[in-house]
């Protein structure tokens, strides 16, 4: 009995931290989709690049860990900005499928770039103070400190996002553009700038998620972004694509689903990723608009 309660508590906090990571990545997907109706396939790889930036900032440029992390986050934001400007903006007036296909191309470009420049062999992400790998021990319960840090950082970032969206003019423009681009630009908002900011914010969040992820599963490799990216996208769809609350709720929901199911049925560990995909399929069948419905029927 006791052991079960312990593992339950451990799993619970683990779910919170994993869910938080998914939520951080999902928010990037949902913001871009809300504005451009584009599934940014490359988002998971931006997550991966952020991690590598942090890695090299510390190991190659010998920056202190906190500065390295900060620099990495900024550069990743810049990367998101550049991708939008170079690959997506020229296709903004093309059929949507073209942007989708291009996004896939960007995704593979980033992955192969990482293989060529960073090397395909997984690297160990031991670039931060030992403190982060410690455990908090409460009786028989052992929870990694990183879990709490993840939860705190995630909460803080979502608070920041809320302030940005609801208390600033830029945020207002972002929300307006998600509804209607032409009208918003007529009202004086610089659409391109707002879109760029959206990508910068989304990519920075992905970088934070990447760094926290690499501390949790301390290994970086060029394809590390594929599965978390796909799952985070699924989380965004479950929550309701286009809705930021949806992305957050979806992220935590997916984190819980994954950890709890494997917690109760350890035999299913190999199928861990499948739950997300199956959930996606079920949601798409019965409620494709997700939990927080944003888009209703399109007019003919």
């Amino acid at each position: 009995m006791d052991a079960n309660l312990n593992s339950f508590v451990q799993n619970f906090f683990n779910s919170l931290s994993l869910g938080g990571l998914y939520a951080l990545i999902a928010v990037g997907y949902t913001m871009v989709y809300g504005i451009l109706r584009l599934i940014n396939f490359a988002h998971g790889d931006i997550f991966m690049m952020g991690t590598y930036f942090a890695f090299y900032a510390i190991t190659l440029f010998l920056l202190p860990w906190w500065l390295g992390f900060l620099v990495a986050i900024c550069i990743t934001g810049l990367l998101g900005y550049s991708i939008e400007k170079i690959a997506y903006r020229p296709l903004r007036n093309a059929p949507r499928i073209s942007s989708l296909i291009t996004a896939i191309g960007v995704s593979f470009f980033l992955e192969s770039f990482a293989v060529v420049v960073f090397g395909g062999i997984p690297k160990s992400f031991n670039v931060y103070p030992k403190f982060f790998s410690e455990m908090l021990v409460m009786g028989k319960i052992r929870i990694p400190i990183l879990t709490f840090i993840t939860i705190i950082v995630t909460a803080f970032l979502f608070l920041f996002l809320w302030v940005l969206l609801y208390k600033t003019k830029t945020g207002l423009a972002m929300r307006a553009i998600a509804v209607d681009i032409p009208t918003t630009s007529l009202m004086g908002a610089n659409v391109n700038n707002v879109i760029s900011i959206t990508f910068i914010v989304g990519s920075s969040f992905a970088a934070v998620a990447g760094i926290l992820w690499a501390m949790k599963y301390p290994q970086v490799q060029p394809y590390m972004g594929f599965t978390p990216g796909l799952k985070a996208f699924i989380a965004a769809v479950i929550g309701g694509i286009g809705s930021i609350q949806g992305a957050i709720v979806g992220g935590f929901l997916l984190g819980f689903l994954e950890i709890m199911i494997v917690g109760f049925f350890p035999g299913l560990a190999g199928y861990r990723d499948v739950f997300a995909y199956v959930t996606l399929v079920i949601i798409l069948m019965f409620r494709p608009t997700g939990i927080f419905k944003v888009y209703s029927e399109q007019k003919v």
Binding site: R37, I39, A87, P90, L91, A94, R96, I97, S98, L100, I101, T102, I104, G105, V106, F108, F109, E111, S112, F113, V115, V116, G120, Y223, F226, L230, F233, I234, V237, G270, Y271, D273, V274, Y277, V278, L280, V281, L284, M285, P288, V300
Partner: protein
């Protein structure tokens, strides 16, 4: 411009086919390596044509192609592997009945591989085709991943992560190009039939197509299932070319779908000849770029090889094509004797002023 008669077209086509026959019959002049590549081109061609039927001609964006290729590959391999080989390979969990006691020939195994893949295309298409563009893409991607993970975990059926080894190398130049011919004839005939018109209409404007009496769902399913069949066939040919199968993401996952996507985008979405051109392009470029992955001797300097360079350059080319040359080589049209005649007549005409 003169219109070529049916007789001329027929003669040119027969001459062309004879030429291809002689080329293939003497393919081993180029050495073992290149004749293998020539076989691979045909396999890529089938993958590309089956994919362009869905993404190009019918206009629905599927990301699940690798799943159907994998199903075809595994199904046919499990059927052609000898019983002893299966006993040896499946040492974690024995292969289930009846597969552990069957061994059949390459041709029936390929057909069955195609049919099983088509069946899964039916199962997957039925719920997925209710969704629109982006969602359909993600759903098919999810299904393809589910298939791959199931393959990876079903030790009793697929030998899981151990994969299958010792698959007989049945895929010769003739089998591959023979199947390619079949694929071209079937899908080409489909494209240039009333159904082809219906599919193209659906690809342009599904609502207008519906209002013209076309059952959009049924036709999309039809294209998806036919595509699944040929994807399965290509999988079987691929399995018996590469002789080992493993369900890692890099070999039978999204990466494979992306390779085929590159082929059809460069060749022209919706063009069968474009798909073949794309397949040829991809085969050569990926082989040529592989050169950069090992050390190159250049006037006495050794340029160090960079692994992964081929993918990097391919994806860069892909992005550039999408931004600047979206229609690809053929666009939606097909290579035909008439079009080539017109093309050359125009050039010659211009030069003569």
């Amino acid at each position: 411009m003169k219109k070529l008669s049916f007789k001329v077209n027929l003669i040119l086509t027969i001459v062309f086919l004879i030429g291809v026959y002689f080329f293939l019959a003497n393919a081993n002049i180029f050495g073992d390596y290149w004749s293998r590549i020539i076989t691979l081109i045909a396999i890529y061609g089938i993958m590309a044509i089956s994919y362009t039927l869905v993404n190009g001609i019918t206009g629905i964006f599927s990301l699940g192609q690798a799943g159907f290729i994998a199903i075809g590959a595994y199904t046919s391999a499990l059927l052609t592997l000898s019983i002893q080989q299966k006993e040896m390979s499946f040492f974690i969990q024995p292969l289930i009945w009846p597969l552990n006691s069957i061994q059949i020939g390459f041709f029936p195994a390929t057909i069955i591989g195609g049919l099983v893949a088509a069946f899964f295309a039916f199962l997957i298409g039925y719920p997925s085709l209710r969704l629109t563009g982006d969602y359909f893409a993600i759903a098919t991607l999810a299904f393809a991943e589910i298939i791959r993970i199931l393959i990876q975990n079903s030790y009793g059926l697929t030998n899981g992560t151990l994969g299958l080894k010792g698959i007989s190398s049945y895929t010769t130049v003739w089998w591959a190009w023979g199947w390619l011919l079949v694929t071209v004839i079937v899908i080409g005939s489909l494209k240039f039939s009333s159904y082809g018109r219906a599919l193209r209409a659906i690809s342009e404007d599904p609502v207008a197509a519906k209002v013209m009496g076309i059952d959009v769902f049924r036709h999309q399913m039809m294209a998806f299932v036919i595509s699944g069949f040929f994807a399965g066939v290509s999988g079987s040919l691929y399995a018996h070319w590469i002789t080992t199968l493993d369900p890692r993401p890099a070999s039978l996952g999204v990466m494979l779908t992306f390779y085929v996507l590159i082929m059809i985008v460069i060749g022209g979405l919706g063009s069968i000849s474009g798909a073949i051109i794309g397949a040829i392009f991809f085969a050569f470029v990926s082989q040529w770029l592989r050169m950069f992955e090992s050390n190159v001797n250049f006037f006495g300097f050794t340029i160090p090889g960079v692994p992964g360079m081929s993918m990097l350059m391919l994806s860069a080319i892909f992005i550039l094509v999408m931004i600047f040359w979206r229609r690809g080589v053929m666009g939606k049209s097909e290579l035909s004797w008439q079009s080539m005649y017109n093309f050359f007549k125009k050039r010659v005409g211009d030069e003569n002023g």
